[in-house]
């Protein structure tokens, strides 16, 4: 019974491709690959032949031609005379901007709601459950429209802020909230301002250094140094001192209500579409992340919490020092896919007129040039690249927090 017979060393039969487990999976993979290649080839030749029949051909030269349209939200220099390629880049940067902002804010919302949903306080946990269920069960498209609609209708136009005696005062004389967006002051970088910035960066490094030193000291000798106020002192005092010493080189460019009869001029304008899409994506995806966080926390065995409590840690510390670091192992992988969702869902920005890459390259450029196939292929490449990049970066992070197995 226990003896193993050698596999028969017979000749190779064609039927073995199906019947022999050694070859079977390979056979099916080869067949599937051939079928896939054939169908892709067929579709491509069909496309090429039909385009040929209509006298159209794949041609990317439109990218170098002037775009001819203007974009309201842009991070780089752009005019209607810039090329379609540049319009696409403006769109790409806008997509990245809103994806980045929404990922940050969704994480904050998600962690907050996920932790609070497990709160012992009945009201708090029910409110968070309500938030999660309401937001993740209504499509994000509808949230975007609702938030943008509310902003447009409930906020005033720009006009009440304009003129010598405006109907509405700006908040602190600096911030204006309109249905076109939020206007805020912009910094003016005067001479010597870089010194102030450099000092501030050094202060940040100094603060981190101090905290690390204090932690090490605590672990080595048990001596407890104060953390809070020295950090703040190191962070702000040198910067403020140098700012005053240099004669206040950084000024503020306030929104000016007198420069134009239609709009506030100057300062930074954060457009209403950006705010709407940013907030909608954050609050929608935040609900999903909250569930990930809850799952992660519940995956940490109760013994860990009890042990930490037994050591005398307060519940906040139990969460931040013991539970969350272990929960991250469970939270990170689904978090990656939520980040990917945010990035892809940002293509809904077109709905509210935010000029992301779907709106510029896949919208106006496609429309004005009629190069649908080219534009769609480029967009697919962009979204694929960016999704794979996010995935790669997050996987690196995942490797750094996952259980180290030795």
């Amino acid at each position: 019974m226990t003896t193993l017979t050698d596999p028969p060393q017979g000749s190779f039969h064609l039927s073995m491709l199906i019947n022999d487990t050694r070859y079977r999976s390979m056979t099916f993979q080869v067949i599937a690959f051939i079928l896939l290649s054939l169908s892709v080839g067929y579709l491509y030749s069909n496309l090429a032949a039909n385009l040929q029949a209509q006298g159209l051909r794949i041609d990317f030269s439109f990218l170098g031609a002037p775009a001819g349209y203007d974009i309201n939200q842009r991070l780089i220099e752009y005019t209607s005379q810039s090329t379609n390629a540049r319009a696409a880049i403006v769109g790409i940067l806008n997509t990245l901007l809103v994806a980045f902002l929404a990922c940050l804010m969704a994480t904050v919302f998600g962690v907050f709601a996920g932790v609070l949903r497990l709160s012992n306080n009945w009201l708090v946990s029910k409110i968070m459950a309500f938030y999660v269920e309401i937001f993740r069960n209504i499509p994000v498209l509808i949230w975007i429209l609702i938030i943008y609609g509310i902003m447009t209708v409930s906020m005033p136009g720009a006009r009440p802020y304009l003129g010598e005696n405006p109907e509405r005062e700006m908040l602190f004389g600096m911030f204006a909230f309109t249905n076109r967006g939020v206007y805020s002051p912009a910094p003016i970088w005067g001479e010597g301002s870089m010194v102030v910035v450099a000092v501030f960066i050094l202060s940040i490094i100094g603060t981190i250094g101090y905290r690390r030193y204090a932690t090490n000291l605590l672990y080595k000798t048990g001596q407890l140094l104060p953390m809070g106020w020295p950090s703040l002192v190191i962070l702000f005092v040198p910067t403020i001192a140098i700012f005053l010493l240099m004669g206040q080189p950084i000024g503020l460019d306030l929104p000016d209500p007198l420069a134009n009869r239609f709009n506030l001029r100057g300062g930074i304008q954060i457009g209403a579409p950006l705010i709407a899409i940013w907030f909608a994506l954050s609050i929608y995806t935040g609900a999903f992340i909250a569930e990930n966080v809850r799952a992660g926390i519940q995956a940490v065995s109760r013994g860990q919490t009890e042990a930490a409590s037994a050591l005398g840690l307060r519940s906040g510390r139990v969460m931040s020092l013991v539970v969350l670091p272990q929960a991250l192992r469970v939270i990170i992988p689904p978090l990656i896919s939520q980040y990917l969702n945010i990035t892809k869902n940002s293509s809904l920005a077109i709905l509210v007129g935010y000029a992301d890459v779907t709106a510029t390259l896949g919208g106006i450029t496609l429309n004005q040039t009629g190069r649908a196939i080219e534009c769609v292929v480029l967009m697919m490449l962009f979204y694929l690249t960016i999704s794979l990049l996010i995935s790669a970066v997050m996987n690196v992070y995942n490797n750094s927090v996952k259980l180290k197995e030795r």
């Binding site: 039909n50 209509q54 974009i71 004005q368 292929v377």
Partner: protein, 338 residues
Amino acid sequence: MKKSVLLGALTVAGLAAGAAAAGTLDDVKARGKLNCGVTTGLVGFAAPDANGEWKGFDVAVCRAVAAAVLNDPTAVEFVPTTGKTRFTALASGEIDMLARNTTWTFSRDVDLKFTFVGVNYYDGQGFMVPKALGVTSAKELDGATVCIQTGTTTELNLADFFRANNISYEPVPIETNAEGQQQYLAGACDTYTTDASGLAATRATFENPGDHVLLPEIISKEPLGPLVRHGDDEWGDVVRWTLNALITAEELGVTSTNINEMAANTTNPEVARLLGTEGTLGEMLGLDAEWSKRAIAAEGNYGEVFAKNIGEETPIGLARGLNAQWTNGGLIYSPPFR
């Protein structure tokens, strides 16, 4: 994942091109229904009325073609299209013709491979502003926020106009006319720009139309007309001559009310040829002799269609202006039926 999307895109493109190859006239006859692309809703030009029935100036062209080809002006499937989807819908064969206040331009004709069969409305791009702003000229719009339908020629004209006058603006791109109206009324933009006829139509639906003015500047030429795909000239001819029949009918005084009488008693050979009592024009088109009679009877001649949908008696209140018959000093002119 990526591959499946690509496959999908290619399949759609492949099917689309395949559908475009067959003869549209035969397709329409076999289907018994004309698929006509219209706007998503622009009162006067194409919008469903209270009973859900499509009405309007562009709709009338669709109905005339359906009457000519299918002997039934109601055998039309109206496909609402946005500025962005209209060309793909036509190129893919989803619709047989597009009658959606679409501007005839060089690149759409030559590069996008469409055939504009004629012009049914000579338009130009204008601006609408609230009266309270006190703006009297488009050149005073420096710094204004402008609502603009994306994917239209107006988007490009707007950029050109502001550049030529060396003034700045903030565009707010919107998808549909209804959205533009909402943004404009909420004050999210200072001015709304599109074809002057469209502005008049939009303003007519406002609660207080008198609070809004159209600025005097017309910044572009916008010849609007129905279009079909390149490469199917038989079908193009059917749509072209249906439109011409409506125009010629007005010129010759043939209306939907007197058409039967005219067909029976006319001594004018031009009218007889137009209405098919003389000659074989219908046969040449691949239709029967009474095709144009049905087309005109469907919604009336060009002048009747104009007066009923967008003329001065309607809330939209557009004067004939450039769109008067050439005999009255306008640009509406049909080649002869001969």
